[in-house]
Subunit: 409 residues, 3 copies
């Protein structure tokens, strides 16, 4: 595509330049414009000033600020996380209980997105059986005729059996086949159960690759030693290279309160920025951490505020029936988001950018010519020397014309 | 790199322009080309036409259509999903049973990729023991000598014990140490068990960031209120902003049949396109949803068609032995794929693109010169005025030459 | 933005060209530079040589090598994996035991990141109770006064009860409330338990999309048939298109030893490169596989070397108490990383790159002029014809000047 295009461009140029002469002669001829030189401080200054501005733009802005002489590549990354810490809860449902990482970290594999349980509604000993639905506008009933056997509401908890049962002493609701007893999720503890979660720490291991530049690096920098890593904690000022983060510190950096967020849960982004200028030595290229809350905490248009999900542990009783403990888990999901663009000097973008900027140098002439021929006192004098008017109606084709054609204007 | 390059370019230009004169004089001189002006309607029209075409390209195509004056950035995104709905199955293995989100949604965490169980093969009460292998070419045996103790086929179900046992009344197969009884996965139900899954809904919460432009937005738009969100369902025409999707609607938009897909499973992509022109006000930038089946449904070259995986629930009997229920789960995995590029006006790409297009304006001259000097009647007349031939063999260097050199051609 | 900018550029050009004449006349006039033609083999050769170099760059480097005439798009991908194989272990804790995919593959869903268990520390029958801490500097005690009730170390295993208990016959440590007995993770088996894991295979199904070009493709190529897929194994030389990979082969390609890596675990990247030139027919665009270890295996600065995580299976005893089996799982996490950029011919980048390169053609003139006017013998002769000096102090404005002004220099 490109080749063809280019071929025709050069053909055109040659033909424009050599017209009907033979190509051999053409090759050893050099054409250059005839110029007039105007000695004018004003025009000269304007000309140099604009030239300077364009050069200043190219050097200052395009090269230094925007680094537009660089080829870029996007980061490819792999993340491993490991949470540490134990918490203690004492509730009526569960009694005194210690929570370790196998209990509160879901999923356990240490992927780039991990969840720390901070609050929960536990519904133990559920079995497949029937029980009255939770009361709401569509489930409250007076008699069996208000309930439709087999009906299955997307927002309900099971399949209606067609019976109307006592939910409490005052309220009757339709009976459903479901995991009973049903979860009552109104009584969310007002203080997060796993208070100690704020002191948990997470080790984030992140290795990145820029495939175009064959560049590999990890967030555990080579000058960091083992003993330091065993006891350090990330701190933007004192320990900016430590890859171990205290959960509360991360939430604070996102300008949130840990204990408030822990009640209803939320999603916290751990952003690792690997933007690098690879024209500099490799050790200048390091991770920059930042933290931002990703879910909506604003109370308007708030369906399912915070972050929670339900999961179950399944058991079998001695007679072979299945029971389960349903847990509605509230907590903070940490999403490690790695991004960045690396740039490195490359001929193509350099030539593209410098070339494009140089084009504007030729515009300077247009501006200065306009200035010279309209704004200066001697504009007619300049104009006469610059332009030679050839009259199309004059039929003396082939006859040499003196410079006096100026006068015919 | 750039600086050095540029320095030498400017040096070169100065020297070409000022030759041996002092720099001070040079600074206040302005050079401009001497031109001939041809009054020709044909050439003039051609010239303006080509100029117009180039300007038209720059304005019309590069700027309006391709927005090449914009700097671009790729989206960074975080997704939370929440499935709702209950289903009912009645099979000989499990009896009447209600399925809620904790049962059919795997993994439960509500990540960007979630799975809804629609069909399954359940093998309850497996224990670590020995049983005859499923019959196939390599496992059918006549006597113990056909079975190799300790052999372990990658496509088999366990470690051979070296015995040949009755699999059925007519077939003998090698015995294996495995989770027994073995799963027989030929009897996949012909109708998806969890028929009701098509009415399940999923709420997708998606927040995006364009880090270069410091732009943040969510798919729950600010003008959508809470009460609307509690009862809306996505519909491309009537409710395009509702982030709650009915599973069947999504599958239909991908031009698939839900109940057919539910039998063997599959992968459905929920593509959210956040491509935005950030030169416009922020509220014009919104998510565009589309749906596409991502796995291969074409029957040719079909290993493991559909989408399924095996998982187990582990139990302990009263005497401490471990048993498990193995489930081969068929269902639809929904992958929320967020993509997009945002563009915003930036000086560098503007200058690069405009500059490059302007270069072509100078090509117009080449074309018109060629036209003027070869195709017009008075080409010799024009040529004489345009070109002044300096003969290299002429030794009168330093002597002023009159315009009569024209005649020596 | 662009439009306005451009408008002013064209205005400027028109005014520079037409000065005070009426626009109508201007439209049908064509201006072209007056040139001198120098017949010089040296200058001509230099001129043509530099022109050739620039054209060579544009065609050879920018177009052929860098394909800078192409518009690019980043890949969007969906991955499904399925592991096959069974392993056998015989340990004092668990006895003889067969492991199938539901046991060792975590999570089971077949996502782009999957984990194969190869080694483990099993701590069965843990219950919520009290036991002495593992001995280390901060937990060893002489009497109860050394232990602080309620203290909770982030690196400890539970909440201290304030008592000092016999850990062994010689060592006393503070008692903690925790899942007891505690896991002793020093005794990691020196040979990976699941030796057979090296023969497991994984089927990787990967479908990619380039949304800008509406291009979709899968890594199971259309010319591959079902029977081949049932028995093939990926081999870079003999079976480069087979999407079924033996685990050991992948680890070997990453220049690691499977059995060494299996002991402490690790992370292996399966990189699928979909970089494509879409100007060629579709079937030239295929996946290129490569493998690289992603975690740090260098012993320096090695916190938590390898890759492991803890998870638990929960049981209930007949009296309703919860017990669990804690498993510290070591193994290899395989991360399927899909990347790539597709390019396709597009007008905008072509014009930008060709235009920018053409700009440099005009620089050739600057170089040749400098050469002509400083390095040739007849430089004064050339200079006189090229430049017409207009003296600013000369007041004869409006009076025609003959070419003899040359002599006034």
């Amino acid at each position: 595509m490109c080749n063809k295009f280019f071929y025709s461009v050069t053909i055109t140029q040659k033909m424009g330049g050599c017209s009907s002469q033979s190509c051999h002669r053409c090759f050893f001829e050099y054409e250059t414009e005839r110029m007039i030189v105007v000695k004018s401080k004003v025009v000269g200054s304007v000309f140099r000033l604009i030239q300077f501005l364009i050069l200043f733009y190219v050097i200052g802005y395009a090269c230094v600020v925007q680094k537009s002489y660089q080829e870029t590549d996007s980061v490819i990354s792999s993340v491993t996380t490991k949470v540490k810490g134990t918490g203690f809860t004492n509730t009526s449902d569960l009694g005194a209980r210690v929570w370790d990482v196998a209990d509160y970290n879901i999923p356990p594999q240490g992927e780039s997105s991990f969840f720390v349980l901070t609050n929960m509604i536990v519904t133990p000993n559920q079995t497949q059986s029937t029980c009255p639905e939770l009361p709401n506008q569509s489930t409250i009933c007076m008699s069996d005729s208000d309930c439709l056997e087999g009906s299955n509401d997307v927002r309900g908890n099971g399949i209606q059996t067609g019976l109307c049962m006592n939910y409490s002493e005052t309220v009757k609701t339709c009976e459903v086949l479901s995991w009973c007893p049903l979860e009552i999720d109104i009584n969310l503890p007002e203080h997060a159960l796993l208070v100690a979660a704020e002191d948990f720490t997470v080790l984030i291991k992140n290795s990145v690759t820029y495939p175009k530049f064959n560049f590999h690096k990890r967030n555990i920098l080579p000058d960091v030693n083992s003993s330091y890593l065993k006891q350090c904690k990330f701190n933007r000022k004192t320990d900016p290279d430590c890859p171990i983060f205290r959960l509360k510190d991360m939430v604070s950096e996102a300008e949130e309160d840990f204990q408030t967020m822990a009640i209803r849960g939320g999603v916290l982004g751990i952003m690792i920025d690997w933007s690098c200028d690879l024209d500099w030595p490799e050790h200048y290229c390091g991770p920059k951490y930042s933290f931002r809350r990703l879910d909506n905490k604003i109370p308007e248009n708030n369906v399912a505020p915070g972050y929670n999900f339900r999961f179950a542990k399944y058991y079998k009783t001695t007679d072979g029936r299945e029971t389960r403990t349903l847990i509605k888990a509230y907590g903070i999901r940490f999403d490690v988001i790695v991004f960045g663009t690396a740039g490195k000097f490359n001929m193509v973008p350099t030539i593209v950018n410098v070339g494009a900027a140089l084009t504007f140098l030729s515009l300077v002439n247009a501006v200065c010519n306009w200035f010279l021929l309209t704004c200066t006192k001697k504009r007619d004098y300049y104009s006469k020397h610059k332009f030679t008017y050839l009259d199309n109606t004059d039929d003396n084709a082939g006859e040499p014309l003196g410079e006096t054609t100026y006068g015919t204007r």
